[in-house]
């Protein structure tokens, strides 16, 4: 397994810390003019999602994590596992609840997701940044009310709740930003 020196640290680098795969979120080089240099990093534990600060002495090296992001197509869920397929090799993989996390709210048939694999097993699932979904249930729309800026809850097929403008009707298709779960626009 390869090792990375602190001079190779950068955002996105996958490293092993305390037996868990981590991704470097940010790295700041700290160096007193007359002293020891350090790499002060923020790292995300890819299993738990927790972000912590870690400081390394300059020149230390850490083991790389066998983690890779692959683009995979969502197929279906059997209630316990979510199934994905590599569209090039047709290889299929199942991700459990821990790996999928909150992403299930945005998983719809054939959506292309980023699946993070650790030792070949799904570790995390990132849905597309934007998805289009039809509204399953919401209060009746207030026709013509496009100016007041009020919102109301709308529920999707997947169980996701999105705040939408008052004029949006049940059954309409809307575009959602999955990174913050916010309504973006109507889809005509």
């Amino acid at each position: 397994m390869a090792n990375y020196g602190t001079n190779e640290f950068k955002g996105g680098l996958k490293i092993m810390l305390d037996g868990d795969p981590h991704s470097i979120v940010s790295n700041e080089f700290v160096k007193p003019g007359k002293g020891q240099a350090f790499a002060r990093t923020r790292v995300r534990n890819l299993k738990t999602g927790r972000v912590v600060e870690r400081t390394f002495k300059s020149g230390e090296s850490v083991e790389s994590a066998d983690v890779m992001d692959t683009s995979m197509q969502y197929l279906y869920s059997d209630g316990e596992q979510w199934h994905f397929m590599n569209p090039e090799t047709f290889e299929q993989l199942a991700a459990d609840k821990t790996a999928v996390g909150e992403a299930y709210l945005w998983l719809m048939d054939e959506a292309m997701c980023e699946v993070t694999l650790y030792n070949g097993q799904p570790l995390a699932v990132t849905p597309p940044n934007f998805v289009e979904m039809a509204i399953k249930e919401t209060d009746p729309g207030l026709r013509g009310d496009t100016a007041t800026g009020g919102t109301k809850p709308a529920y999707m097929e997947t169980g996701a709740m999105v705040k939408v403008p008052l004029f949006i009707e049940e059954g309409e298709k809307i575009k959602i930003d999955t990174r913050n779960g916010e309504y973006v626009s109507r889809v005509k």
């Binding site: 001079n7 080089f29 700290v30 007359k34 002293g35 020891q36 350090f38 400081t55 390394f56 002495k57």
Partner: protein
Amino acid sequence: MNWQPTASFGALKKAALLRQTLHAWMHSHGILEVWTPSLSSAANTDPQVESLCLGPQAEALGSRYLHTSPEFAMKRLLCAYPDTDIYQMATVFRAEVQGRYHTSQFNMLEWYRVGMDHKALMRDTESLLAQIWQAFDLPYPEMQHRSYCNEVFQLTGFWPDDLQGSTVRDYFVANGRSFPQALEHDLAACLDLFVDEFIISQFAANHITFLSEYPASQAALARTGVNDDGRCVAERFEVYAGSVELANGFHELADANIQRSRFQGDVQIRKQRNQMPMPVDENLLEALEQGLPACAGIAMGVDRLLMVLGGYSHIGDVLSFTDDNA
């Protein structure tokens, strides 16, 4: 590749104003501007500072190193002409990782005051900073003085040179901060990280802080002396704007023998750590044997100073071009 400058035109104008102000202050204080070569046959032996070496094209010259600061050459000038204060603004070079405050080539202002000690040089530096803030039409920041030794003692109950690596580690753990395992047996590095995490990071953002009274173990090229409490301290100081290190000042060590043994210590450490060996500056040692006048000297990062003055968040914002597109 991007050919465009990283600094805005406004930043370039501010840089010009800063240089103009620095030169004017030096001139009005009777400090002589000097120039010394950037390339030298000797290098900086300090294990924490990596000199850049010229490649095989330099064969005709013999190996040549880019200076990491103009210190050695300026000290030789002082040994030769001991009655004059001197200054230099120079681009210096270090094989360093890039960061918000770091780049491989940056601008350094270095000046030496004959007959001054570190305390007088701190007042001198305050006077220069006041002049600069005035030139930039900015309200003069509050100044504060902190003692390295006292700060460490107040936090840990130990004087820095009595601290153990394990005590430092426990302090980090108790405060929920990350402590690199590789550090525990390197007390100097422990202190560097401790001071950065718990002292410097607490300096108020809108203050200029003079941190002085370093432990004797961190004397570098400074003399050691006794402070008002009767403790042995290194006669050096650092200047911070908020938490950003701006300058390093020393009551200069003049003893050629001590200097030689510190160089040899550096060479040994470099060998142990498998770092590139650096040739000792024999010319400097010979000059020191001739005699360095009692003096204090300081090096200031001009680009960082500009970042502070202009409120820039990255050193690239004040450099025409950075390591990425130089």
